[in-house]
Amino acid sequence: MAESILMRVSELVKHYGEVRAVDGVSFDVPDAAVFTLLGPNGAGKTTTLEILEGIRDPDSGEIEIFGRRLRRVDRATKQRMGVLLQEGNFEPYLKVREVIRLFASFFESSRSVDEILDRIALADKAGTYVKNLSGGQRQRLAIGAALVNDPELVFLDEPTTGLDPQARRNVWSVVSDLRSTGVAIVMTTHYMEEAEALSDHVCIMDHGKLIAEGSPRELSATLGQETIIEFNADGATEEDLAPLDTRCKAVRAEGDLVTVETEDLVATMESLLAWSKRQKTALSDMAVRQPNLEDVFLALTGRRLRE
């Protein structure tokens, strides 16, 4: 199955004085897929995206988009793109319908206002002023503005940051619907669950560099046949935990939370149970799971995605 590449980014660099916000980033974005840049705050995800959206100039690097080589994204390209910025507002005294209509007029061709409103589930709020919308509704409106021209490529910068779980779920369903209609989506997030749930392809970024890429499954598989065991050990010290080392790959303690990485689940479980009996410490809130992207990041950088 030949994937067509919609956008190719080569050696993108952007620095601010001494700081290299984007440090030689390269990736390919395939058609009809969700492509995610995952990383902690300050990793350079938004800066990268803003360069691709045409509102920031790169210091060096090349962008090939819709088959054209560009240094900077131009107006013709913008006709075929949709952008959801990380931060932004609409005129507070415009009605929802008026916002969509305004943005539709910026493009040569666009969907009807009603279609868009249905798509983002704001049809019943068509006559409401922006200033009276909730945070989740505003985000859906912003997504609507990004979809108004039926784009082939959509950028979503941190689409669910700051939203409550219900709103987040609403956005996720819009994104999956979008993907199923054949649109390519480039997304940034620092939420591991989001990356795992939505993405076909993930690039992990840290300090301006790409440190890993692949599908969520592939990335998790880099940790091998690992299993992760987490539990709460009230007041256990390093010394207390030392005996566990022998049967597993790694043991980490952060406060009361202990994380054990092991390739031999059964042996480790046995030694854990024995340890708990000896220590007279209960293994409370224990969870056994497959490694996820958070663990991958941890393994690569020694830090968590969320500080």
Partner: protein, 403 residues
């Protein structure tokens, strides 16, 4: 094209929906127009005001043909007129048993405190003095007493009352002289009042005021509305949402300008209708001259707004600059008060201020007064400001908060 028009519509609609903007741009100029017309329309209408005046006649009860003549005149004027209208004076007199000196002192205090418009004290022997002056061939100044007219200078109704009383007493003068056979009123030369230079007859103050208020409306709109729209939209990152679409900056500016000029048109229409229908203005803005100047004014002030937007970093700073410039530019332009006799620095500001030329030119072009500035300056100075503002805006205005 539709994108430009929708941007224009957005600007217009948001301005009208925000109650604060609505007040300052539409309601406040109307308020000012109505208030100033009502107030300044009253000057010269003393006939409709009743003055509270105290009369203390120390000469009462004395003999002679002229004792009580003054008092009599005042009492007459304190009666409602034949048409049943209000009398000219509300007269305060002492009771028969009052000590006149104490009464006078108390009334003077009341005058000082603004509760009386004037106090007239007729001294004892005044009737005699009049007699002597009429019939004595030489000036027999001994024993001559003066009528004391007490006023509170600087108090508007007191000043007006004094003028009225002066006229009343002048009338009494003539009556006495006529009665004594000395003055022949048929020999009197009448006097008339005429206004020059206005073909439609007596112009009203509102005709003079209306062009000024319209300009003030355009001015506040440009000074506050444009920087507000640009700076706050930029700060709130509303503009950023536009720049990731194909909408270009020039098209956005075109839309903003059209929206702004439409708002000015609304202001003009509202003020014009109220001026003509409610306040009786007779001035029309028909013809190329007034129309051209109105458009020029709207564009000049809009350019000024862009100038401020490009020099201020935040919305609040822009509003601050606008507030600082607002008053001096409006008042030092002859918009409301004539500006003769300004000292050095302020005079320079007057000549630099584009509003001065536009106000003068607009009034001249609607026929309300002969202009002071030649047309070349009336058009030239605002154009120079437009050019300057455009240059600075093109050079300095930033469309993104951070690139």
């Amino acid at each position: 094209m539709i994108d430009v028009l929708l941007v224009a519509r957005t600007h217009l609609v948001t301005a009208l929906r925000e109650r604060v903007t609505l007040f300052w741009f539409l309601i406040f100029p109307v308020f000012l127009l109505v208030l100033l017309s009502l107030i300044f329309g009253q000057i010269g209408q003393e006939g409709e005001i009743t003055f509270t005046v105290t009369l203390v006649d120390f000469d009462r009860g004395s003999e002679g043909p002229f004792a009580g003549v003054i008092a009599g005149v005042f009492e007459n004027l304190a009666e409602p007129d034949t048409a049943g209208g209000d009398p000219l004076f509300n007269l305060i007199r002492p009771d028969a048993a009052d000590d006149l000196n104490a009464f006078l002192d108390a009334e003077l205090v009341a005058l000082r405190r603004g509760r009386r418009a004037a106090v007239v004290a007729i001294p004892a022997g005044y009737g005699r003095t009049i007699e002597r002056r009429l019939f004595a061939s030489s000036e027999d100044a001994e024993g001559e007493v003066e009528l004391a007219l007490y006023a509170s200078e600087g108090n508007a109704s007191s000043d007006m009352a004094i003028e009225v009383i002066d006229q009343v007493l002048a009338g009494v003068d003539r009556e006495i002289l006529t009665g004594a056979g000395l003055f022949d009123s048929s020999e009197s030369v009448p006097h008339v009042t005429a206004r020059i230079g206005s073909p439609e007859g007596e112009p009203r103050y509102v005709d003079f005021l209306l062009p000024g208020i319209v300009l003030m409306g355009f001015f506040t709109n440009g000074l506050f509305g444009i920087p507000g729209a640009i700076l706050f939209s930029r700060e709130q990152r509303v503009l950023q949402r536009y720049w990731v679409t194909p909408l270009s900056v020039p098209r956005y500016l075109a839309g903003l300008s059209i929206g702004h000029l439409t708002l000015c048109a609304f202001q003009f229409a509202l003020l014009y209708l109220i001026g003509r229908l409610a306040l009786g203005a007779s001035v029309t803005f028909g013809g190329y001259g007034p129309a051209l100047l109105l458009v020029l004014a709207a564009v000049t002030f809009m350019a000024f707004g862009f100038l401020i937007a490009s020099l201020a970093k935040t919305g609040n700073a822009g509003m601050a600059v606008a507030n600082i410039l607002n008053m001096p530019m409006m008042f030092l332009s002859g918009l409301f008060f004539s500006v003769t006799g300004l000292p050095g620095v302020l005079r320079v500001l007057f000549y630099v201020n584009p509003v001065s030329y536009l106000a003068d030119g607009l009034r001249a072009s609607v026929g309300v007064e002969a202009g002071v500035f030649p047309m070349s300056l009336v058009i030239g100075v605002p154009l120079a400001w437009i050019a300057l503002s455009s240059a600075v805006t093109a050079w300095r205005l930033r469309w993104d908060v951070g690139r």
